[in-house]
Symmetry: C2
Subunit: 210 residues, 2 copies
């Protein structure tokens, strides 16, 4: 979006993290890390704010302080809620496939539905989250939507449907058709394979326990 | 810090949240909420950024983009780690006082020690977090330090000591002596009473289970 040249370096997170990752993000040992002028910046939202403050073309955050606050609020909401939800969905599905406990699955699906409803409500009358152009929340949300779909496929759940969440699904389509996004989405087959392995690991954990 | 007049309104969170809170923060139903020009802003870090962008005197965040990124990184670290740690400390203490399970307590204390060590390391050669003046991280950390102390007192744990964390303790003292902070800290006795009740509730939960 900023037309800035960068070098992308893939990190192999399992089983061993690279010395470069441990050096640049010793506190969390997580990706993503942006290195600029030799100095590391960590956490997706912090990286986006840094990019926006360093390269001023095509602003990611809105200019108005209140709209900026709303963008940060929604980005935080997604950042905090979604990974937990995905883990819950994966565990609930594994649990159900190994034991007769069905209530956990229903509970996780209901939680997912509530989170998606909140997002669906936020999209009423808007083309993208936070307005008419691709911005901060969209960049955070996109991966969410993409993750949820890929994981649904990997574990076999079916929560995010067009019937129930028409605005979210329409937005996801429009967003993914933006050229800059299209060119930079992670490859779906690799993503899917990764989560299939994760789901299998969780399932064998519950099988042993059962 | 901004010399802006404001009206402070206390929220009674238990047992019933006020209609004003539910109206202004329907997503999380949490405090704090800042209302400016009739519009609500939620989440501590989002509120601080909004205040800094709206009133430009005495900047809370540093001017340099990299220093801003570091301030946001540490603020997020604290925001995400500390409440969970406090809850763990409270549960571990209650669990130990009701049953013979001592390992949980030792584990929670060790986790607390690690988190405090990370903060202690960050303070080497600095008067405040992120530099020489009270800023973003300090405003987020202060409540952390204050919370941990008050909760230690309420549950009887002893993790944050001067012997082990001299820099953190010295910083806490200097910070709390700043006039603007001194005048705005929540009353310690009220805070302490609140957490004593919480600790008692957790203890009676474990007693019933034991």
């Amino acid at each position: 979006m900023k037309s800035v040249k960068y070098e992308y370096s893939e990190e192999d997170m399992f089983p061993n993290k690279s010395p470069a990752l441990l050096k640049h993000n010793p506190v969390h040992k997580k990706v993503p890390v942006l290195i600029h002028n030799g100095k590391p910046i960590m956490e997706s939202n912090v990286i986006l704010e840094y990019i926006d403050e360093t390269w001023k073309d095509n602003l990611i955050l809105p200019r108005d302080p209140y709209e900026r606050a709303m963008a940060r609020f929604w980005a935080k909401f997604l950042d905090e809620k979604v990974i937990i939800l995905i883990l819950k969905l994966m565990h609930a599905n594994s649990l159900e496939s190994c034991t007769s406990i069905g209530a956990e699955r229903e509970k996780a699906h209901e939680e997912a539905r509530q989170l998606l409803s909140t997002l669906e409500g936020e999209l009423k009358g808007k083309k993208f989250f936070g307005g008419e152009t691709v911005g901060f929340v969209n960049l955070m949300v996109d991966f969410v939507e993409y993750w949820v779909r890929v994981i649904q496929e990997a574990v076999g759940a079916n929560v995010l449907t067009e019937g129930e969440f028409p605005l979210l699904c329409k937005w996801a389509e429009e967003f993914q058709n933006c050229l800059v996004i299209k060119e930079n989405l992670p490859p779906k087959d690799k993503f899917l394979a990764f989560f299939k392995v994760q789901a299998e690991m969780i399932t064998s954990f519950y099988k042993e326990k059962a």
